[in-house]
Each structure stands twice: as C-alpha cells, then as structure tokens.
C-alpha cells in the first residue's frame, strides 16, 4: 500500500510543484503590491459595494479584507479547478487512458486503490496549500513595515487561514473523485463537478445578499468556509470544519462503494449493467 501511495505521490509531483508555485504567486503579488496602492483602497469601498463584487465575495475596504479577498476568497476557487482536474482524473481519467487497467489487475483490493489514491490526492492538495500558505505569510512579513501598524492579522494567522481551506478543496476533490466512479466518462464527471462548484460558489454569495435566499446557502459547500476578513482573524468555526470533514468522508465512502461495483475499462453508467439470472 505504501509503495502504491509513493507512486501516486510521484505521479502528482509535477502538479504539486506547478500548482503550488503558480498559486503562491497570487497572494504574493496581491499582498506584495498592497503598499503601492493602499491609499486607493478606501476609495474603492464604494466600488466593492457593487453587487457584482459582492457576488464574488470580494471586499477591499480594509487591509485585512483585502488579504482575505486575495487569499481565502480567491484561492479556493482556483484550487477547485485543480480539485476537479485531480478528482476526476484520479480514477475516471486513469480508467479512460487505460492506466488503471494494470493497477486493477494487480493483487490489490479495490478499496485500497481508492483509499491510496484519495489519500495521495488529499496530501497533494495539502502540500499545494502549504506552499501557498508559506508564500502568503512571507508576503505579509515583507510588507508589514510598509502598511499601517495595527494589522489585526499576523503572518501566522494568515498562514493558518490559508491552510484552513483544505477541508473545502478536499471535499470538492473527493466529490469529483466520487463522480468519476458513477459516470461513464471523465468529461461528464468534470462537467457535473464544475456545475456543482460554480452554482455552489455563486449561490452562496448571492444568497448572502438576499435574506429570503438564506436557506439556499446551507446547500453550498462554500457556506461552510468563512473566506472573509472575519475568517482570517477568528479562524473557521469547528462545526463548519466538521461538516466539510463529513462531506469528505461520505464522498470517499461512496467512491469506494461505487468503484467496488464498477466494470473498469467499459465506460458505462453503473445502472446499465444488466444482471442476468
């Protein structure tokens, strides 16, 4: 199992490096540039009040809000792209390109294959987030003396806030993994996962603006991750983390159940398998 896990990590190595560095540049550039246009930020508050920005969960009225917008608000959305690519690519993608056939033909129980691949995926997401987290904290340290002195967020707070997005993005990845086990093609799984993420993200932010739609928010995964300035300062609510953990475990469990039943290399919907007597 360890050997398969190491192999899975090796396969993901380039993705971790590429996505880690690429995503790290986002907060580094945004936070690093802040001193250059800090004075303009207060003027931007009116702009941020526009519905379009609120729908995207953006706020730049304070330095803390600006940091939240450029880290905990923006990165999960970009990371969700990686989550979908990785989640659907892990079983469905490997099945489609034929590599999974040789793995399944080995003397390894299928639940172990799913477990190892899910663990490798979760760890790769964590490592990417860790790189982004370190970059964010480093950027904050670099500009600390150039902005106001009473910053409510320490570099450690910022680093932990970035790390706390792991349950959210891992949930999205595991949902994508599960979708790959019940759909005939990776493309279909990716489409469904993307729709879920976009609707979930926009639904959460739009519902937050309209009181009557508050109930809708409860169905959005993004509702359980506080991407605002408050989240940076206070951290995530334990209940939200538990709920996202439950989503992770349920998606993982369902992926095992459906992968156990699945005909590999056939590319059919699970319910089209005719059981004959």
């Amino acid at each position: 199992m360890l050997r398969l896990f190491l192999h899975e990590m090796r396969v993901r190595r380039n993705g971790i490096i590429g996505w880690g560095i690429g995503l790290m540049l986002l907060p580094v550039v945004y936070i690093g540039m802040y001193p250059e246009f800090a004075s303009l930020m207060e003027d931007m508050q009116e702009l941020m009040d526009l519905a379009i920005y609120q729908a995207m969960g953006m706020n730049m009225g304070t330095f803390e809000a600006y940091m939240a917008s450029s880290t905990t608000n923006m990165i999960p959305i970009v990371m969700s792209v990686y989550a979908v690519i990785n989640g659907t690519g892990t079983l469905a993608g490997e099945e489609e390109d034929g590599r999974l056939e040789l793995i399944v033909a080995l003397p390894i129980p299928r639940w172990q294959i799913v477990t190892v691949k899910a663990a490798a995926m979760a760890l790769s997401l964590f490592l990417i987030i860790l790189v982004v987290s370190a970059g964010s904290a480093a950027a904050l340290i670099a500009i600390e003396g150039k902005v106001k002195t009473d910053i409510a967020v320490t570099p450690l707070d910022l680093a932990l806030a970035v790390i706390s997005m792991w349950p959210l993005v891992t949930s999205l990845a595991l949902i994508s993994l599960f979708l790959g086990t019940i759909t005939p093609r990776r493309r279909i799984a990716s489409m469904i996962a993307t729709v879920i993420i976009v609707v979930s993200y926009l639904g959460n932010n739009l519902a937050g603006m309209v009181e009557s739609l508050e109930l809708v928010q409860t169905f959005s995964l993004f509702h359980y991750f506080d991407a605002t300035e408050h989240g940076l300062v206070e951290g995530q609510a334990a209940g939200d983390v538990l709920l996202l953990t439950a989503v992770m475990l349920i998606s993982f469990g369902l992926a095992i159940v459906f992968f156990q039943q699945r005909d590999i290399t056939v590319g059919t919907w699970p319910w089209t398998k005719a059981k004959m007597t």
């Binding site: 034929g98 040789l102 398998k273």
Partner: protein, 299 residues
C-alpha cells in the same frame, strides 16, 4: 476440487444491451498454452478482463487455480497471474526500471528477474517510458507480465508492435513459462505464432465460444486464396474439385479458395496459360470465419 487453472461456467457479460460474452464454458488445464482466438469485438478482451475481475460477470462464474472465484477471491488469484493487456497504457513519466520496481513491489515480489527479461528483449530500462517506441513499450508490458514468474499468464496480443526477432524471443519466453509449469492464456491473430506455441485453441465468435480444438486440427483447416490470371478463359466447371471453391470470376481472372487438391488445381490452371498468380495472405480470422460461417452455432 477442479484441476483446471481456468474454468468458466456459463460466463456471461453484458454491458447494458450490448453483448460482451455469452454463456462461455471453458476449461484450461495446468501447464498448457491455450490460444484464445476470434475476430475483433468477439469478446476475447472481455473474457480476459472478467478472469482478472476488471469486469464483473452478469451471470455464471469463473474459477481460477481450481477453487478461487475470480470475483470473491480476486486478490488471491491475481497474486498468481501475470497480465499483458492488448492496449497497453503506462505511466509515461517513469523510467522502465522504476516501473518494474514499483510493479514488482505491488505484486509482492523482490528479485530482479525483470532485469534478465529486459536484457533478453533488448530493452533499455533506464529510459523514460514516454521516450520509448511502441515496440519498446510493448516490451515493458511483457517484462511486467513475466517478471514475477506467475502460475498463469494472460497475454493479449503479446507480439503486437514487435520486430520478428523479438517476437521469437517472446515465443521462447512463453515456451519456457510452460516448461516451468505455468499456464498461458494467449490471445493472438497471428496463425504461425499460434501454431508455434499453443497446445489448444478456443474460438470465440460474437461472444460465444464456438469451438475448442487442438492446434493440429486447426492447421488442417487452413486454406489459401489464389487469384489466377489466364491467357485463355477456363470453362465455368474447370475447377470443380474437392476442397476447391471458386470465389470470384472476372473475365480471365479467377479467384479460388483451396483447402486441398492444390496439385490438381495447378495442373488444370496450366492448361489455360497462366499469366499471373497472386496468393492472398489469409488471416486466422479468415479461416475461422470461413470455417464457421455466419449463423452457425456451437461446433
């Protein structure tokens, strides 16, 4: 307890409404090389994947090594199986040697027999798989299938993409595996290869096992297709001979299918001044399709 290495009983696989294999009853004995033959889409790959529990049966069962159910005891069974799929897809970023080490560890082995195999096949295992030619990738698959000295080898078109010398080495490896007591389930379209190495063959058509024969019987069913161009047009009944069928006639060009009486055909042909002869290569599938014909059931 059965002594068969492979035994299927009413094995059936359907993908929704699409047929995979139907009601296949097959026994493969320990130590034999069994050729599994049939046209594309006949169900060969489905059969192999079902034995490996990659695909699950819709009905029936497959027993391996006497008492291991391919599904319930799949992990235990696969520990004793080496598999080469027909469409090989490998991890392109790995070197061949890293791939062998990983594959070896996952199968529970620990020796370096893969190195011996790679040398015999002329494979440079230090190169990344993405940089290997199709033939060399096929060698990687062959090494992976053989390197743990499995009791059962399931090989789907093992010599595809290989040059004739390496093809011969693969045939030798199959023979050596048999001599070492292994059983080989061998799928191929190449008749000389089947003749060279298989003890028995099973012929699958449209998902059904239509015959299981010894190779000698199969060889007796061989025929040739010969196209003569004549200087003088022969009469319509010129080639009415036992084992000879006139397939086509276009003016002075006559196409014959010859199972026997080749000398009589040549003697007759010479009488009408042969200006050209084309001998059409007949594939194993042609033989099967001609022998079993459309609509024929189990032989």
């Amino acid at each position: 307890m059965s002594e068969y290495v492979i035994e299927t009983k009413g094995l059936t696989v359907y993908y929704g409404r699409h047929r995979g294999i139907e009601n296949v009853d097959l026994q493969v004995e320990k130590g034999e090389v069994f050729g599994f033959l049939g046209p594309n889409g006949a169900g060969k790959t489905t059969m192999e994947r079902t034995l490996l529990d990659i695909i699950r049966p819709s009905a029936g069962e497959a027993l391996l090594f006497g008492n291991l159910d391919s599904r319930k005891d799949g992990v235990e069974a696969r520990q004793r199986i080496g598999y080469l799929p027909g469409e090989l897809s490998l991890y392109a970023d790995m070197t061949a040697s890293a791939y062998f080490k990983m594959y070896h560890a996952l199968q529970g082995g620990n020796d370096t027999y893969w190195q011996t195999l790679a040398d015999r096949l002329g494979l440079d295992s230090s190169r990344k798989i993405r940089n290997l030619s199709r033939g060399n990738k096929q060698k990687v698959g062959i090494v992976a299938a053989f390197m743990n000295k499995p009791e059962l080898l399931i090989l789907d078109e093992p010599t595809g993409g290989l040059d004739p010398l390496v093809q011969q080495t693969v045939i030798e490896l199959v023979r050596e595996a048999r001599e070492g007591g292994a059983t080989v389930f061998f799928s191929s379209h190449i008749l000389p290869e089947v003749q060279a190495v298989c003890d028995r063959v099973g012929i699958i058509r449209e998902g059904q096992l239509v015959a299981v024969k010894r190779v000698e019987e199969l060889i007796r069913q061989q025929f040739q297709r010969v196209q003569f161009t004549f200087g003088t047009i022969p009469p319509a009944d010129a080639f009415v001979l036992d084992g000879v069928t006139e397939l086509r006639r276009d003016g002075n060009v006559v196409m014959l299918e010859i199972r026997e009486n080749l000398n009589a055909v040549l003697t007759t042909a010479v009488a009408y001044t042969v200006t050209n002869i084309d001998i059409e290569a007949v594939s194993l599938e042609d033989i099967f399709l001609a022998y079993y014909g459309k609509g024929e059931g189990h032989a």
